[in-house]
Amino acid sequence: MRKEETVKLISAEGFEFVIHKDAAMVSQTIRNMLTSPGSFAETEHGEVTFPEISTTILEKICKYFYWNLQYASGKQTDQLSPYMSMPSLLGGQVLFNIDCPGRCPRM
């Protein structure tokens, strides 16, 4: 995994998750962060800090990113979305602006 293909997500407690950019860009917000024409600090350093999101939730979110990347492109799957088991995480949808599973992420 080369460095320029990855992005580092940092939780409120300071835990770092290094994941693929492709996966992170499932979130429209992170996509904007990383592709916005002017270079914000996040684009420069390749890391995003979430001071309001706890490690457990951020981990779930990262899992969801990968699940979405793999299965959500319209393919049928038996596997349950990690998303569905945690209603409390739904707040993340608002902040991260993620489309519901089964649809391609909006631009």
Partner: protein, 733 residues
């Protein structure tokens, strides 16, 4: 799927710390305002997107959306005012570049701001019906920068100036131009139209008005059209390079109007280079250009077509009424065909095979061909010439081409029945003299006539072919039945012609030589023996004969002559000298025919088997004839043609006319009866109209003749006049 999910779960807002700090909103806004300043100052790398996004998100969430939005408007307006100042300060050429650069920067900044404020864009703005961030940015740019008092006029002038410079041949920065125009379009189509396009079209109209005036004074038609075409292409190219595609129709419209429409008449009629001259000189390129340009404007093609039609009618009229041309019918028709070919080619190459032009051409031909009453005769003579010799050794396809062309002329004829009359005569001559080049070609033409005019038109012509075929069989039968009785008497070939099918004249039989008469009698008894109830009469004026002749020095020749000539020559078997009177008495050939046949026997150089005294061109009643012992010829077979008038003489023509008129009478009557049978009651004008309609496939009946026929029908009690309204006719069953 998303809808389903939303039904299954209750979405709760993310749990946030309750805002306690009363200055929370003010503080948060300060952070965002600072960020916007930094973005406009190209200094965003120190900003954290996540933090800004979260702040904007929280502000909206905690009902400070209104503050955020109005703050954004104020801050952006402030920056745009700064930008506007710097653009206004730019000098000369730099103005557009500065504008372009600032526009690009503004776009980028706007994009970043929108990304940060995405949450507001998605939730707060739709619910409060405010303008979305991106649109807001464009609107502010429009109002603050583009519509600033100093920039607005300057921008327009600069753009129009650049266009003008490009029109006069200079090279301008098209990329920059495209960007600026694109900017105007991005700001909304109304901005593009009001701030640029409207003025652009006005200025263009002025420009082309002047230029076309200048061109038309100095150029001939061809060159003017070239220039107009080039200008039109340039404008289209300009649109494709840096204007809105929707402007194309508008600007081309301006060019068309100024350069073509307002000078249309003058161009078409331009002396020594206008449409007529182009047609005369076959200038397909120029004509094509004229067509494609004039097609763009209303009524443009109508003018072209009208002038062309008038010209064709004029040339055609000259051609068909020129007495010189009437001498040679084949040449006459050939010229018509050449004329048609010429304009077919023009329409094909230059006028895009336009249907309306083809129709105009056809109607012109129809108009002038029928100006000459002898056209039907000449067309038939042309066919006759082609089928006698013109098509010898020509491939089948080429024959078809010629025949198709003839059919085309035939279609233009109004008096198709006259053509039929002549065609019948000429065909009969061809068949009886065995002169026809190809049976296939003959039949092919008949099929064409049939498809054109129906079965009735050709049934008699087909009957002629059938007669020829049956006659062959009859002759076979005759010789196998009675051949042994004939010994070495002359060989006879009889063609039995059905009365009615053939254009026979009331026969003036001549006295046949005894040996021939005997064979003929034999045939007569054979034929009447096999076919009861028929009557045979001999058409001696239509036959031919082959004579084996021995001349003074023993030279032998086979003479191919007509029946009349044969009768004359046979007289010289017994004597060397005969006077005209003696010949006339012995043969009883009608005087005019006899003169013609003696003329061809005695007066044609190289074929003069008779000598005449005195030597002269014409035959007089007191001439004497001698057998020409000294006759020589390179050929064994000598064909002695009768001096046939190729085209009819005036009296003959009158006669044919009269016969045609006679033939028309029953047809007109039949048409009247057909119409009245179905209509029962009809007034005079309607009858004339309907009869004309029914018969126009064959000829154009004269209303006076129709009136006479109606009167004759009333006399014979097919019709009666209405008791009260004298204009009405009633059908009497």
């Amino acid at each position: 799927m998303s809808a389903q999910k939303k039904r299954n779960f209750q979405i709760e807002a993310f749990k946030h710390r309750v805002v306690v700090d009363p200055k929370y909103a003010e503080k948060t806004w300060k952070i965002l305002e600072h960020a916007i300043h930094e973005i406009y100052n190209h200094n965003a790398s120190g900003l954290s997107f996540e933090e800004l996004y979260r702040n904007a998100y929280n502000m909206v969430l905690h009902k400070f959306g209104e503050k955020l939005y109005s703050g954004l408007v104020t801050t952006m307006t402030y920056h745009l005012k700064e930008i506007s100042k710097s653009i206004e300060a730019a000098q000369g050429e730099l103005f557009l570049e500065e504008l372009n650069r600032k526009w690009a920067e503004h776009n980028k900044a706007l994009q970043m701001i929108r990304d940060i404020l995405m949450y507001m864009d998605r939730t707060f703005i739709p619910s409060t019906h405010k303008t979305p961030v991106h649109e807001l940015g464009l609107n502010l740019w429009r109002d603050v920068v583009i519509h600033s008092s100093k920039t607005q006029a300057r921008l327009l002038d600069t753009l129009l100036e650049l266009v003008h410079r490009e029109r006069s041949g200079e090279v301008i920065n098209r990329g920059l131009m495209r960007n600026i125009i694109k900017m105007l379009m991005d700001l909304g189509s109304s901005v593009y139209q009001d701030d640029f396009e409207k003025h652009f079209l006005e200025v263009s109209a002025d420009f082309y008005r002047c230029e076309s005036q200048e061109f038309i004074e100095s150029c001939d038609c061809g060159n003017y059209l070239k220039k107009a075409e080039r200008r039109l292409m340039e404008e289209m190219e300009r649109v494709s390079h840096y204007l809105d595609a929707r402007s194309e129709a508008k600007i081309t419209n301006v060019v068309e109007k100024e350069m073509i429409e307002s000078h249309m008449n003058r161009l078409v009629h331009m002396e020594s280079s206008g449409l007529v001259n182009m047609l005369v000189d076959d200038k397909y390129d120029d004509l094509g250009r004229m067509y494609s340009l004039f097609r763009r404007v209303q009524n443009g093609l109508v003018i072209v077509r009208d002038v062309m039609t008038a010209y064709i009618r004029d040339t055609g009229k000259q051609l068909v009424t020129d007495p010189e041309r009437l001498r040679d019918p084949v040449d006459f028709v050939q010229r018509l065909l050449d004329l048609k070919d010429k304009y077919d080619k023009v329409i094909n190459l230059a006028f895009n095979n336009d249907k309306t032009f083809q129709n105009a051409l056809n109607s012109s031909f129809e108009y002038f061909i029928n100006l000459n009453a002898r056209s039907p005769e000449f067309i038939s003579l042309f066919v006759d010439d082609k089928l006698r010799k013109g098509l010898r050794g020509v491939s089948e396809e080429d024959v078809e081409v010629v025949l198709d062309k003839v059919m085309m002329l035939f279609r233009y004829l109004q008096e198709k029945d006259v053509f039929e009359k002549y065609y019948k005569q000429h065909l009969a001559k061809r068949l009886l003299s065995g002169k026809t080049v190809s049976d296939d070609a003959e039949r092919s033409l008949i099929v064409k006539l049939k498809t054109e005019c129906g079965y009735q038109f050709t049934s008699k012509l087909e009957g002629m072919f059938t007669d020829m075929k049956t006659s062959q069989d009859t002759m076979h039968g005759f010789y196998s039945a009675v051949g042994h009785q004939l010994g070495d008497s002359p060989t006879l070939a009889v063609q039995v012609l059905t009365t009615g099918s053939w254009p026979t004249q009331p026969s003036a039989t001549c006295n046949l030589p005894a040996e021939i008469f005997w064979v003929c009698e034999k045939f007569k008894s054979y034929y009447l023996g096999t076919h009861t109830g028929r009557r045979l009469s001999w058409q001696t004026n239509m036959g031919t004969a082959d004579l084996k002749t021995t001349f003074g020095k023993g030279q032998k020749h086979e003479l191919n002559v007509s029946t009349y000539q044969m009768c004359v020559l046979m007289l010289f078997n017994n004597t060397d000298r005969l006077t005209y009177k003696e010949i006339e008495q012995a043969t009883e050939i009608p005087a005019s025919d006899l003169k013609r046949c003696l003329q061809s026997l005695a007066c044609v150089k190289g074929k003069n088997v008779l000598r005449k005294e005195p030597m002269s061109k014409d035959i007089a009643e007191d001439d004497a004839f001698f057998f020409n012992d000294k006759f020589t010829s390179k050929f064994f077979k000598v064909k002695i043609g009768t001096v046939v008038a190729q085209r009819e003489s005036e009296p003959e023509n009158q006669e044919t006319r009269q016969r045609v008129e006679e033939d028309r009478k029953p047809q007109i009557e039949a048409a009247i009866v057909r119409i009245m049978k179905s209509r029962r009651v009809l007034d005079h004008n309607n009858i004339v109209a309907e009869v004309t309609k029914q018969l126009q496939a064959r000829f154009l009946p004269n209303p006076v003749v129709i009136k006479k026929r109606i009167e004759s029908l009333i006399e014979r009690e097919f019709l009666e006049r209405d008791k009260t309204d004298r204009k009405l006719y009633r059908y009497l069953a």
